[in-house]
Symmetry: C2
Subunit: 194 residues, 2 copies
């Protein structure tokens, strides 16, 4: 009987150890993913935020029959979809930084903080994916144009600008996947005692 | 001592009742939200999927000096962003229908089914928000145009078409909020025993 009790106590302690190890591993994954999300959203915002290309283009005017070379500049903030993308990534980056500090400070103890971070992570998923959708549409129109509405492609003239925008979108996709994983990982911790 | 025990047993039963009532209320909210999400994604896909407008426009040709009236049609599938939006809403609608049936059939008993539905709800949030971002960008360009890339506005000519697209986007925003709430509500049930 005593042996059984000891075995049962030993089993409970073993369970506790396993749960403790799982909790530490989850916390570690959470911190790593949050840092990755921070770095990627920062990179996406910066890569598109500094996107600018100036090119000399031939322009024929009435007064001067031979074509004149005029510098034409393409900037990221000319398209509102790109502005939205940069702002969305900047907000997600700030949230990742603040939540990283809060997670480090609270050491998983404060349920309300964890719940708030969980909800905001979910909002960041929505925000980033809407930004990706917006920027991809603007980018695709730039690459292909649209003959039905007579929007001409511009990426044949501003290749470097378009490729940089494409890189920013790819980075942001990775960042949003990190936030998706954060929501999946955080759910058990947030709601355990509800 | 006996009284204390009875009180304690009574307290535990009370707790069980409260937990049972909470679980029923959560399940009811889940079913209602899932039905709302199904109806709204279906509506959004249909409203944009039947969007079409034909208008007579003046065209001046070289052979006939006075302008000729030519019918010009605007269709939803002329813009790839609108195609993506309709497909995203159709996928989310199918998921809402299947998950509604699964939730009704499993009665909250099967953890794996609940986990799968939870993950897919989260994927639907990402899918719908990217669709909303894409369609909004295309819609905004249609309403305002963009002078930097010389894309002319088209909504001054196809008002009904653009307003219908706007309505579809608004409906999809409501549907994606329903999926967001589903993720928030489902988290405690999915991960309770993990």
């Amino acid at each position: 009987m005593e042996r059984e009790n000891r075995a049962s106590v030993g089993g409970m302690e073993g369970d506790k150890d396993v749960r403790g190890a799982n909790k530490r591993s989850l916390r570690c994954s959470d911190l790593v993913l949050r840092f990755v999300a921070l770095a990627l959203t920062l990179a996406a915002a910066v890569v598109l935020g500094v996107d600018k290309q100036t090119k000399l283009m031939e322009v024929t005017t009435v007064s001067s029959p031979p074509p004149v070379l005029v510098p034409v500049t393409s900037k990221w903030h000319y398209l509102s979809a790109f502005v939205y993308f940069v702002v969305a990534n900047a907000i997600a980056c700030s949230h990742a930084a603040v939540s990283l500090l809060l997670t480090l400070a609270s050491r998983g103890g404060k349920k309300n903080v964890a719940l708030m971070i969980f909800i905001l992570d979910l909002v960041m998923v929505a925000l980033l994916f809407s930004g990706i959708g917006a920027a991809t549409t603007a980018g695709l129109l730039g690459f292909q144009g649209n003959k039905h509405v007579q929007w001409n492609k511009v990426c044949n003239k501003f290749e470097k600008f378009c490729n940089q925008a494409l890189a920013a979108i790819a980075i942001s996709v990775l960042a949003s996947l990190a936030f998706l994983l954060l929501v999946l990982l955080a759910a058990p911790n947030v709601h355990k005692k509800h």
